[in-house]
């Protein structure tokens, strides 16, 4: 099998030389680190890398905001693509101007992310491996085995570490509101740390419930190591079970929370 990096360089090179795109968004190695990079010519592609997993959807949004008519190639993992789909539903990005280069994740990556779909809809590079259910995760299981009081104590302990840096919100590709309720003093008192966690954490969890695509960037951004995705993974599973709906799957599918019961019926959720 061809080296995935080589294969991506080839595809990106073809898009660039064929004039189909003005640039390709991916990752490059620079100054001893890896970060997002806009490749403009075939020659630049020698610095292109694929690891580690790095969120590109937000970068894509920034570029499109600046160059609305630019045509962009983007190297996407499953979660990048799902993020772009949820963003497109809310007019944050224009999918029509994007050429996606699909990269399948490895099994190890899928397990680390507790990812149900570790691949984009079209795989250009890599082998498709089966996804895992979030509830396979030991920590998620442990939480489910606990009673309400134990869970309350667990989250109280975790959330009391919050320094209200807003990193989770800022890193999140689907947290897109221009006026965020978490900065509204009616809900979250200014100048108080940790924030009243019901107001801050519960509300954020509810707000992302129908759009979280499970990229894990919130938790990765959290300087206090609060296991946010443990909660969000369960919320995503619940949305899946209640509405037979998965965020990021289909740009034409509206959130089940804004449709009628005829359009998206409410299903029974099984015992956990």
């Amino acid at each position: 099998m061809q080296d995935p990096v080589q294969r991506v360089r080839e595809i990106a090179g073809q898009l660039l030389t064929g004039g189909q795109v003005d640039g390709v968004l991916g990752l490059c190695e620079q100054h001893g680190g890896v970060g997002p990079c806009l490749f403009r010519g075939e020659d630049d592609l020698s610095s292109l890398v694929l690891e580690p997993k790095y969120p590109l959807a937000n970068v894509c949004k920034l570029i499109q905001a600046r160059y609305p008519n630019g045509r962009l190639g983007v190297i996407v993992r499953g979660c990048d693509e799902r993020a772009l789909i949820e963003m497109a539903k809310r007019e944050q990005v224009d999918l029509d101007k994007l050429a996606l280069i699909g990269l399948a994740c490895t099994e190890a990556q899928a397990v680390e992310c507790r990812c149900r779909h570790p691949y984009p809809q079209r795989i250009d590079v890599g082998e498709r491996v089966e996804g895992v259910a979030p509830t396979v995760d030991e920590n998620v299981r442990k939480l489910l085995e606990q009673g309400f009081n134990e869970r309350l104590a667990f989250w109280h302990h975790e959330f009391s570490k919050c320094i209200k840096c807003y990193g989770c919100r800022n890193a999140c590709p689907v947290c897109i509101c221009e006026e965020c309720i978490l900065e509204d003093e009616l809900w979250v008192q200014p100048g108080v740390v940790p924030p009243d966690y019901a107001a801050f954490q519960f509300i954020r969890a509810y707000h992302i419930s129908d759009k979280c695509i499970g990229c894990g960037e919130c938790e990765a951004a959290c300087p206090m190591d609060i296991p946010l995705t443990r909660l969000y993974a369960l919320v995503r599973e619940t949305v899946r079970e209640l509405f037979d709906y998965e965020a990021g799957a289909d740009v034409a599918a509206p959130s089940p929370l804004v449709t009628t019961l005829e359009e998206t019926p409410l299903l029974e959720v099984g015992e956990r």
Partner: protein, 141 residues
């Protein structure tokens, strides 16, 4: 106000929509049906007006139970407001559970303007449920 055997007098909020459940509550009142006095009614235009943030804040702020009562499905004055309410609170209930709050503290149901007796019945039952659950100390312990 009634107290349970151990002296616990729950605080309960009942969001009632203007067009059906509030009228149902009113009917229960004018019919002089016996009801526990542990709940406060907040009238809203539609069950869809009740945002999950309110429920979260109420539970965080020392309320022991929250009711959201709207028109029966099919009868919402705004056609499908209660569809949304039904879905969002089904989800919120599960979320409350993951976070350690017994979902039984949130009760969602439908009461028509003519169902005064039904209003009395579900309120009475919910007050009993919350008394059994005991005081809710809020997420701050």
């Amino acid at each position: 106000m009634e107290k349970s055997a151990d002296g616990f007098k729950p605080k309960i909020l009942a969001f009632c929509c203007n067009w059906c459940s509030y009228a149902g509550a009113d009917l229960a009142g004018v019919s002089r049906l016996q009801m526990p006095s542990d709940f406060r009614v907040i009238r809203v235009m539609c069950s869809a007006r009740v945002s999950p943030e309110w429920v979260i804040k109420a539970l965080a702020g020392g309320v022991d139970g929250v009711m959201v009562l709207g028109c029966h499905i099919g009868d919402c004055h705004y056609i499908s407001g209660n569809h949304r309410a039904k879905k969002r609170f089904a989800l919120l209930k599960e979320m409350l559970g993951y976070l350690g709050i017994n979902p039984a503290r949130l009760y969602v149901d439908w009461v028509s303007a003519s169902e005064g007796a039904r209003f009395q019945q579900i309120v009475t039952e919910f007050v009993e449920t919350v008394k059994e659950l005991g005081p809710h100390h809020g997420p701050e312990g």
